[in-house]
C-alpha cells in the first residue's frame, strides 16, 4: 500500500470541509464518537443532523465561529491506499496556508462552486498549486445539486478552467462534477449525472499514478549527521546519515561531495535492518565511503555525472508569510536541505499579482505576496531548480531575531 498526500483548495464556503467530511464518512473513516460530537456541536449552533465540516474544525475558536483557522491534517485509508489530507482554510491568510499544505502534496483538489464558475480565487489556487510543483490537479465542480446537475454548467466551467491551466502549463488536470453535501461522485457514482462517465473522486484518488512524482533520476543525498560512534567493535565506523531526497544509489557507485568536490565510492549502504545494495528516495540510510574525506552536515553527496549547481547567488520565487514585509537588502537565514546559511535579498525582481498573474515592480513583499527575488548566500548552496527537483530546489527563510519562518522559497536558477 502506498501513500498519497493531497490538499484541498477553495474559497470560503466552497465546501472544502464538507468534502473532506464526506470522503471520510463514505470511506467509513469517521468514528461514532466523532459523529456524536459533531451532532452535539451542530445542535449547539442551532442546526440539526451532522455538519460534516465540523470534523476538520479542531480548535475551540473554529467551532465557535464556524470557520477554519489553521491547516488541519486528516488521515484515511482504503484497501488501495493511505491518504494524508491537508485541509487549508480560505480566508485572508489563504496564500500562507495553502502554500504550507501544498508544499508536501502530490495532488491538489481545487473546488469550484458550480453556481459561481471559475473565479479569481480558483485561478489563484491553481497558480499556487502549480507554483509549488504539485504534479496532479483535480478540479472538483461542487454544489452540482444547486444547478440541477446541469451538464452545460459543468462543461462551460471545464472549458474556462482548462484554458487557464493550459496557460499555466499544468500537465495533469482532471475534472469531476460533485455534490459534497449529498455525496454525488465523491465515493459513490451519481445517478443524477448520468452524462458524467468518468471516475468518482475517490476512484481517481486511488488510481492516480504517483511513482513518478518523486525524481528518481538525480541522486541527491544531503548529509544530516556524521556518525562515528567510536564504540568497541566498531572503532573505524564513520557513516554519513541522511535521507535520499531524489534518485537512487548503489554500493560501489562513484560519488562526489559538494561543494568541496572530493571524490570517492560508496562502500556500504547501512541501515538498522542490514546493508542494502541499492537505495532510493525517500529512504533514510547511512552511507559509508571508501575514502576518509572531510564531510559535514550541509554537504551533499551526488553522482559526478549529473551534479546540481553550487551557487552563491540565485533567483527564486518567494511566498512571504510574515507580518513584517520583506525589504530589499534584508538579511535572513535560509534553510535549504540540511544547510542553513546567512543570506541577503539583493533585489526584488518583480511581484506577481496572483489574481491576474501579471508581474510588476515592487519595493517590498507583504504577507501573502509572491515575488521573484535575487538572493546572495554566505556559503554556496548546492541546488537544483525547484521545477526539476522539489527537494533540492526548496528553502525556507528564517528571521534571525524572532526565529520565525517568514517565507517559502523555490529556486528558479543561478546565473
Amino acid at each position: 500500500m502506498d501513500l498519497l498526500r493531497f490538499t484541498t483548495a477553495g474559497s470560503v464556503d466552497d465546501g472544502k470541509s464538507t468534502l473532506i467530511g464526506r470522503l471520510l464518512y463514505d470511506a467509513k473513516s469517521i468514528f461514532e464518537d466523532q459523529l456524536q460530537a459533531m451532532e452535539r456541536s451542530t445542535e449547539r449552533r442551532g442546526g440539526t443532523g451532522v455538519d460534516l465540516s465540523l470534523l476538520t474544525d479542531g480548535l475551540q475558536a473554529e467551532r465557535e465561529q464556524g470557520i477554519t483557522i489553521d491547516v488541519a491534517y486528516r488521515y484515511f485509508a482504503t484497501p488501495k491506499r493511505k491518504f494524508i489530507i491537508a485541509d487549508t482554510p480560505g480566508h485572508e491568510q489563504y496564500t500562507r496556508n495553502m502554500v504550507t499544505g501544498a508544499s508536501t502534496a502530490n495532488l491538489a483538489i481545487v473546488l469550484i462552486d458550480a453556481r459561481k464558475g471559475v473565479l479569481t480565487q480558483s485561478r489563484r489556487h491553481a497558480y499556487i498549486a502549480h507554483l509549488l510543483g504539485i504534479p496532479h490537479l483535480i478540479a472538483a465542480i461542487n454544489k452540482m445539486d444547486l444547478v440541477d446537475y446541469s451538464e452545460a454548467v459543468y462543461q462551460s466551467i471545464q472549458t474556462d478552467f482548462s484554458a487557464f491551466c493550459q496557460q499555466l502549463g499544468a500537465r495533469d488536470v482532471r475534472f469531476i462534477p460533485i455534490s459534497a453535501l449529498h455525496g454525488d461522485n465523491v465515493v459513490e457514482k451519481s445517478a443524477r449525472m448520468p452524462w458524467y462517465t468518468g471516475d468518482t473522486l475517490l476512484d481517481t484518488l486511488e488510481g492516480i499514478h504517483i511513482q513518478h512524482d518523486i525524481n528518481l533520476r538525480d541522486f541527491r543525498f544531503p548529509v544530516q549527521l556524521v556518525c562515528s560512534p567510536q564504540i568497541s567493535g566498531l572503532p573505524d565506523f564513520r557513516g554519513y546519515m541522511g535521507r535520499i531526497e531524489s534518485g537512487c544509489v548503489r554500493a560501489g557507485d562513484d560519488i562526489v561531495v559538494l561543494p568541496s568536490g572530493h571524490r570517492s565510492h560508496i562502500k556500504d549502504i547501512v541501515t538498522y535492518d542490514g546493508n542494502l545494495s541499492v537505495a532510493c528516495a525517500p529512504q533514510s540510510v547511512t552511507l559509508m565511503l571508501e575514502d576518509h574525506i572531510d564531510i559535514s552536515r550541509g554537504d551533499m553527496i551526488v553522482h559526478p555525472e549529473n551534479p546540481p549547481r553550487s551557487a552563491r547567488e540565485f533567483h527564486a520565487m518567494l511566498c512571504w508569510m510574515s507580518e513584517q514585509p520583506l525589504h530589499p537588502r534584508g538579511k535572513y537565514l535560509i534553510k535549504h536541505t540540511t544547510h542553513t546559511a546567512k543570506a541577503v535579498v539583493q533585489e526584488i525582481e518583480h511581484k506577481v499579482d496572483i489574481n491576474t498573474l501579471a508581474t510588476g515592480p515592487a519595493s517590498e513583499l507583504k504577507m501573502n505576496e509572491i515575488g521573484r527575488v535575487l538572493i546572495k548566500v554566505q556559503r554556496p548552496v548546492v541546488c537544483d531548480a525547484y521545477r526539476d527537483n522539489r527537494a533540492s530546489g526548496a528553502f525556507i527563510v528564517i528571521d534571525e531575531h524572532t526565529n520565525n519562518t517568514v517565507a517559502a522559497g523555490m529556486i528558479e536558477g543561478a546565473d
Partner: protein, 299 residues
C-alpha cells in the same frame, strides 16, 4: 528500479529524518518515553536513526504513580535493554513539594503531569522533547506542527504557529523556549499496530486481551487501588485490552479477545470508535479539553 516504498516505509523514513534533524540542530534534546505503544515505536525509530551509535538524547518519563505496574516494569526493562539513560520525574514528588495541589489521592493525574514535565524541562534545560502524539488522535492535535514551538512558559499558541513547509524544519528557539517534536504526527493507530507487527515489537501485556475486574462508570474502569467498587456497583470479570495506557483512574479498556498484534489490526480495521473516545474519560469532559491541556504545556 526498486518497487515503490510502502506507506510504513515512507512514514518510518520521515520519522528517522525528523529525529536526525533534532539530533543535528538542537543542543539538548530528550525523548519522552512512557512505556506506551507510541513511544515504543519511537524507540525503534530512534534505533533505526542512530545505531550503531548511541541515542544522542536521554529518555525521560513523567511518572504519575498512577500507571499500570506492567507498563512501569516494561519501561525499565526496555531502557536497560537499549542501554540508554532513563530519567524519571515524579508527579508525587511535585505534589510533595507543593508544586501541585490535589483534592484527593485518587483523582486523575493526567493534567498534573504538565507541571512536572515543564519543571523537568527547565531542570535539565531541554530545548527539544520528542513526543509520541499523533494527529489522528484528537482534533487539536490535528492542527499541530511536527515541530511545535513552546514559549518560555511552555505554552502552545495554536493560532500563532510557525508555517511548516516541505520537510524543512525550523528548529530555532531562544533560551528558555523549547520545541515539542512529534515524529509520529502522520501515523494512525492502524499504522502503529502494523508497525508493531512488522517489527515484532514487544509491548506491555495489558495491550493484549486478558481477564480483568472492571466496574461500569459510563465506560469500563479497571478495578485497582485507585478505583474501588462503590456500594451497589457490580464488579465484572471480562476479557479486555487497553488501546492506550494512561492514568489507571481514568483509562478504560475495551472488550476484546485480540491476543496478538495481527488480531488487533483486524479489530482496529473494524473499530467504530476513536482511540481516545474509547478509552479516556478525561477527554470527554469538554470538546476542547485536549486543546486546553495542550495550551498549558501538556504533551
Amino acid at each position: 528500479m526498486p518497487a515503490p516504498l510502502s506507506h510504513l516505509d515512507v512514514l518510518e523514513s520521515e520519522a528517522i529524518h525528523i529525529m536526525r534533524e533534532v539530533a543535528a540542530e538542537c543542543k539538548n534534546p530528550a525523548l519522552l518515553f512512557s512505556g506506551g505503544k507510541d513511544s515504543i515505536v519511537m524507540l525503534r525509530l530512534a534505533e533505526k536513526a542512530f545505531r550503531p551509535g548511541r541515542f544522542p538524547f536521554p529518555l525521560m518519563h513523567v511518572d504519575t504513580e498512577h500507571n499500570f505496574p506492567e507498563v512501569i516494569a516494561f519501561r525499565d526493562r526496555r531502557a536497560a535493554e537499549l542501554g540508554e539513560r532513563l530519567i524519571v520525574r515524579s508527579v508525587q514528588d511535585s505534589i510533595d513539594r507543593g508544586r501541585i495541589k490535589i483534592r484527593h489521592e485518587n483523582e486523575s493525574r493526567n493534567v498534573m503531569q504538565t507541571v512536572t514535565l515543564l519543571d523537568a524541562i527547565q531542570e535539565f534545560g531541554f530545548d527539544a522533547c520528542f513526543g509520541g502524539a499523533r494527529r489522528d488522535e484528537e482534533k487539536a492535535r490535528a492542527k499541530e506542527r511536527i515541530f511545535s514551538f513552546r514559549d518560555e512558559f511552555g505554552q502552545w499558541d495554536p493560532k500563532n504557529q510557525r508555517p511548516e513547509l516541505w520537510d524543512l524544519y525550523n528548529t530555532r528557539v531562544h533560551p528558555g523556549e523549547h520545541m515539542r517534536v512529534f515524529p509520529l504526527s502522520n501515523w494512525t493507530e492502524m499504522d502503529i499496530w502494523q508497525y508493531i507487527a512488522r517489527e515484532k515489537l514487544e509491548v506491555p501485556s495489558i495491550y493484549y486481551a486478558h481477564r480483568r475486574d472492571v466496574v461500569w462508570r459510563g465506560g469500563w474502569l479497571p478495578v485497582s487501588h485507585l478505583v474501588q467498587p462503590k456500594a451497589g456497583e457490580e464488579v465484572k470479570n471480562i476479557m479486555v485490552r487497553f488501546r492506550t495506557v494512561g492514568d489507571m483512574s481514568c483509562t478504560c479498556p475495551v472488550e476484546s479477545d485480540a491476543a496478538t498484534a495481527e488480531a488487533i489490526i483486524l479489530e482496529t480495521a473494524g473499530s467504530r470508535i476513536t482511540e481516545r473516545g474509547a478509552t479516556r474519560m478525561d477527554d470527554r469532559t469538554s470538546e476542547a479539553s485536549m486543546e486546553l491541556r495542550k495550551r498549558e504545556g501538556y504533551f
